[in-house]
Structures are given as C-alpha cells and as structure tokens.
C-alpha cells in the first residue's frame, strides 16, 4: 500500500499526461465506433447512386421520395407509431402507480413485486418473446395487435417504474402529509402535489417507453400478428431482398424519430420548468 503510493508520486506527472492521452484516445475510438454507422447511414441516404456505398456519386432525395411512395413502409410506420403511443400511455400510467405504491406503501409481498416488475428488463428479449408466444399457444389464442401492444408494455414497464421510483424517493412525504392535513383527499393530494413533482420522471418515462416500443425488433418478430409489420420488422424484411439505399433513408427517419422525440420532450420540459421558476401566476383556486 505505502509502496504503491510512493511509486505513484514519483511518476505522477508524466503518467498523468499519458493517462489523459490514452483516455482521450479510447474515448474518441468509442465515439467513432458508436456513431460511424449512424453517420454513414444518414449520409448514404442522400446518395444518388443505386448502390449503397462510398464514394458518393451525388446528392439526391430520391430515396426519401421513394420511401414516401412505398405504401408498405408507410403502413409499417403508422403501425409502429400507434403501438408506441399506446404503449407509452399505458406504461406510464401503470409505471407511475406501481412506483408510487412501491415507495409509499407497506404491503405483504412488496419486495417480491418490486423484483417481478423489474424482471422483464433482465430477461433476454428473445426468451421473453418466445415465452409469451408459447403461453399464447398454450391457451390457444391467436396473435393479435393487442398481444403485441401488451408485450411492448411488458418490456417498457420496468424502465418507467425505475425512473419514477428514483424520483419518488426524492419527494418527501411531508408534502403529501401537508396536503392531507389541509383537506385534500389522498387522490387530490396525489394529483395536485405528488404528480406535479413527479412530472420530469413521468415525461422521461413516457418518452423512454415510446422509444423502447418504437424500435423494438426481436420481441416484435415473435409477437406480431400475421401480415402486420412494424418499422423495424419492415426494415428487416426489406433487407432480406436487397440492400437498397431506401433502407438508409428509412433508417434516417427512424433515428430522427427515436432521437428527436426524447430531445423534443426534454426541451419542452425544460422550458416548462423555467416558466414556473419565473413565478408566473398560477392561481387555480376554485
């Protein structure tokens, strides 16, 4: 121990410099590794050439135009959008209530429930996908849109619960106690005090649930009813035929949706809180 410290002191300056350089280099590599495919997809979606690859032959929006005319893609997009919206809404409601119960109340089996809720996030998606499918077969039910949506909800609930729980723990109980003592019922105090204080987590959870559903591939492959394609499964089936630059355009749209929506949500949330901070009159007394 003492030796180690002494050694560190001797070589600290030089070693520090090298450590920094190495860290910087590794970080750069990681970022390139992470973003190069995304950047390539986006750039190539504007390529004029039929063949998806560098060097680019010219700038063109023809793949986007083609995409817009592709009825299959549009249908898949609409399907995914609907599923994601429903998933997001239901998951947020369920997740917030669950997190509230887990943080605020004591009941038998609480520990078990809190583990069970998180479980879908830990089990590999493929296994979850097969499992639900087997269950459906066992009770002799067809694969329906409802099943697909329920599956997505199952996948997204853990994240919403975790996010909301973390925020909920930070909201002190005295606020609710104060509201109750002032005459608000339990429901009113939740609606007027707890929920507004939870809003960042609620919005964050909703956005995350949306993205989880919108770009889910593997589980959707198992669960979708015959003839229904979501965006990711549509891309997958298009890839089976050919690597058309149209897919790059589609990929770009996907990126835009999955990155853009949370970003937009965050910005809206930020401006909302800023508005409140300024102490805008919010007299809502009835």
């Amino acid at each position: 121990m003492a030796d180690g410290v002494g050694w560190m002191k001797v070589g600290r300056k030089q070693e520090g410099r090298w450590a920094w350089r190495l860290t910087g280099f590794v970080t750069l590599c990681v970022y390139i590794f992470m973003f190069a495919p995304i950047v390539a997809t986006v750039i190539l979606s504007f390529n004029a050439s039929m063949f998806g690859g560098f060097p680019m032959t010219g700038f063109s929006l023809q793949w986007y135009a083609k995409l817009m005319a592709n009825e299959q893609v549009l249908t898949a997009f609409r399907t995914s959008l609907w599923i994601a919206l429903v998933t997001s809404a239901v998951t947020t409601a369920v997740g917030v209530v669950t997190a509230f119960a887990l943080v605020r109340f004591e009941f038998p089996g609480k520990q078990a429930l809190s583990t069970l809720v998180i479980l879908p996030a830990l089990v590999p998606e493929t296994i979850l996908g097969v499992g639900l499918l087997v269950l459906i077969k066992a009770i002799d039910q067809p694969r329906t849109m409802l099943l697909l949506v329920l599956g997505h909800i199952l996948l997204a609930v853990p994240y919403v619960v975790l996010i909301t729980q973390a925020r909920m723990v930070g909201i002190r109980r005295v606020y609710e106690e104060a509201a109750l003592s002032l005459g608000a019922s339990r429901f009113s105090s939740f609606r007027e005090i707890t929920l507004p204080l939870l809003i960042p987590a609620v919005v964050g959870g909703a956005l995350l649930a949306f993205t989880i559903s919108f770009d889910n591939t593997s589980a959707s492959l198992f669960w979708r009813p015959a003839g229904v394609e979501t965006m990711p499964t549509q891309i997958l089936s298009m890839l089976k035929i050919s690597i058309s630059p149209e897919i790059n355009a589609l990929g770009t749209v996907m990126i835009l949706v999955t990155v853009g929506i949370p970003l937009l949500g965050g910005l809206i949330l930020q401006s909302l809180t800023r508005l409140k901070r300024r102490g805008q009159p919010t007299e809502e007394a009835r």
Binding site: V174, E177, A178, L180, S181, G279, P281, E283, A285
Partner: protein, 380 residues
C-alpha cells in the same frame, strides 16, 4: 355518541390537564391512548385534555413519543388503543383530511411547485370557499405573518424564516380547530428562532386558536406555553404551567431535563425538617409531610435559587469555585462542596466575579428546594 352524554360525563382525574372548570368541551382530549409500531410501544396510557384557546407544549427528549402524539391528533399515526376527541368529536376513524387541523412541520413542507398564494389558499380551496373570499383571507393571513404582497413568490425564493411564516399562514388561514406545531423552530438559526417564538405566540393569542407545540427545547417550552406536558419514554412525567414544572418538578427526570437542577443526595433527619447531605452538611428543608428519619431523599435546588455571598439564606453551604462563566448580568459558578459533589449556582453579580479556586459561600431558603424520594418522585 350524543353530545348530552358527552357533557354529563364527570371530569376524570387522569385528564386533569389544562381543563379549567368553567370551560365546556376541551379542544382536544386523549383518553388512555396507546400507540405501538409493531412491538415497539411509542406511547403508553397517555391522557390529557387541552382547553380551548390554550397553548400546550409537549416537551421531551427525542424518541419520547411527543411527535407521535402530535401526529396521532393529525391522523398521520394510528392509535392502538384509547380515544382521541377533537372538540368533543371522536376522531379515531376520521381520515386526516376531514379532521380540520392545521399542521406546521419542522421542514416547512411548502409545496415547492406552487407560489405563496396557492400554498396558503390550498386549505381554503378544499373547503369550497369562493374565490374572492380566498383572495381576501390569504391576504389577511399574509398580513398576519408580516409577509404581505408575497403572493407571487415561490417557496425557493424565501428564507427559512419566511417559509415557516408562510407555512404558519397556510395552517391557520382556514381557521382549524387545532394548530399542531411539530418542532417548527428547530430548522431555523438562533436569531430567527427567538423572533419566530414571539411571533407564533402572538398569532396564537390574536387568533385564539388552540395550539399544541412539540419541542425538545426547554426554553421554547417555558417561554411560550400555558401548559407544559413533560414526557419521557412514551409516558407523561408531569403536566403543569411552566412555573409549576420548573419550580416543583414532579420527578428527577423533569428536574434534570428542565434547566439542569442540582440534585443533592442525602438522608432525612428531624422527621423531614432537615436532610443530612452525603457531604456531611445538614440543610433545612420544607417538607410538606413528616418523613422517617434515615430514609434516602434527593434535594433538588435550581441554580437560580442559590445566592452567593454573606447575606445568603437560611441554608448555608461553602465550597470552592471550580469554574465560573460570566454572563453579563449574572454568573454561573460550578462549585465543589466536598464529597465529590459539584453544584451549579446562577447568581446576579455583586462586586466581582469569583475566580477558580476561590472560596465561596452559598445560601438558599428551605422553600426553594424540592424533595424527591428514592424512586425519583416528588414528596408532596
């Protein structure tokens, strides 16, 4: 329960609390309540009745059950046994939001996302008070806590003291039957605490609201209360006016907790007219009843009852100054009177402050001391 039956009940000796004979129903009444968390009994056999418009303090060290009792009035803690009545109405099964009580927390608990107006108006809103009336009453309440015009501010823009004033305004604006104050001054700094103490007392007087105040600070309790309930380990040690509790402590705990009294062990002689201290000195005491010679007692003397110098009272003790602290108008001496016994005297200064090691003469009157028996109970 019909009211007539309620009124015809004879006053119970156990609830001799603060109920004066002329008064009708007590504002709050506890009848033999027990509160347990699982196996841990936080409060045992607590009975108290609190007269309308009075300021009652629950005083005790942390963990003595005082906050638990306060929370049981609010309905935030369930009682395991007994009854709680607010204004003659049994509230055991009444949920908190229907109890009509005002609650002030140590941590203020102002809603951080609502401005001052919405915070103070909160209770009125849930009582269906019309909007113009709400605006008027909120304005009035803010005036009362000397923060008029702060309606549009957010809690985060206010200082701790200001936040607690707003919390107070929020708790009294809807004219609750009882105002519950849970260590409201503990989070404030010393100067602010002094100011708020006066303020709270003043507002309570003006509004005539019944207030129950929880604190572990004896100074707060003595300066603000009409009655003090001294608690220890889930049970009542003594109930009385500040002066009663201070001058005639019922138990050794009370004597020690309030103002650190001198506790001198000794044995009775002259059938209770005198006590021979462990140090060998004999002092005269005023015992209300004859005692067997030789029985062990403790003589409780407040530091303020001891006078320093030649003119001192009927009982005389002499010793050496161990330490002296000068407080301006008076000085606190720690005095060794022999036999490994130190006593404290807080006396006005005449002449100069004595230094460490100097000889000192002390005196006190027999009436100025209280006798406790072997179990630490006052002999009366």
């Amino acid at each position: 329960m019909p009211d007539s039956q309620e009124l015809s009940q004879p006053p119970r000796p156990a609830t001799a609390g603060a109920l004066s004979p002329g008064e009708e129903k007590p504002a709050v009444e506890f009848r033999d309540i027990d509160i347990a968390y699982g196996k841990f009994v936080a409060v045992r056999d607590f009975s108290l009745s609190i007269a309308k418009g009075s300021f009652v303090t629950l005083l005790g060290p942390s963990g003595c059950g005082k906050t638990t009792i306060l929370r049981s009035i609010a309905g935030l803690v369930d009682i395991s046994d007994g009854q709680i009545m607010i204004g003659g109405r049994r509230v055991d099964d009444v949920p908190i939001y229907k109890r009509n009580i005002g609650l002030v927390f140590q941590s203020y608990a102002l809603f951080p996302h609502k401005n001052v107006f919405d915070n103070v108006a909160f209770g009125l809103k849930y009582r269906n008070v019309p909007k113009p009336e709400i605006v008027r009453r909120v304005g009035q309440a803010l005036e009362m806590v000397r923060l008029p015009g702060s309606e549009k501010k957010l809690p985060s823009q206010l200082s701790g003291g200001q936040q607690q004033r707003i919390a107070l305004a929020r708790a009294i604006v809807f004219e609750p039957q009882v105002l519950l104050l849970d260590e409201p001054l503990s989070a404030l700094d010393a100067n602010m605490r002094e100011e708020m103490r006066v303020e709270i007392k003043k507002i309570q007087k003006e509004t005539g609201i019944t207030a129950i105040f929880v604190t572990h600070d004896q100074e707060e309790a003595l300066s603000m209360s009409d009655r003090i309930v001294v608690m220890n380990a889930g049970a009542v040690e003594q109930i009385g006016t500040p002066q009663e509790v201070y001058d005639t402590p019922a138990t050794a705990f009370v004597a020690n907790f309030l103002g650190k009294a001198n506790m001198l062990a000794g044995t009775v002689s002259r059938s209770g007219q005198a006590v021979v201290l462990a140090t060998g000195q004999t002092i005269n005491v005023a015992c209300p009843r004859p005692l067997a010679d030789g029985s062990k007692v403790t003589v409780v003397v407040r530091p303020q009852k001891l006078s320093v110098g030649a003119a001192a009272g009927a009982n005389r003790l002499s010793g050496r100054v161990v330490s002296a602290s000068y407080l301006g108008g008076s000085a606190i001496y720690e005095i060794d009177i022999g036999g490994q016994t130190n006593i404290r005297a807080n006396a006005p200064i005449s002449g100069r402050v004595l230094r460490e090691g100097e000889a000192i003469d002390l005196g006190f009157d027999p009436e100025g001391c209280v006798l406790l028996d072997e179990d630490g109970q006052r002999i009366s």
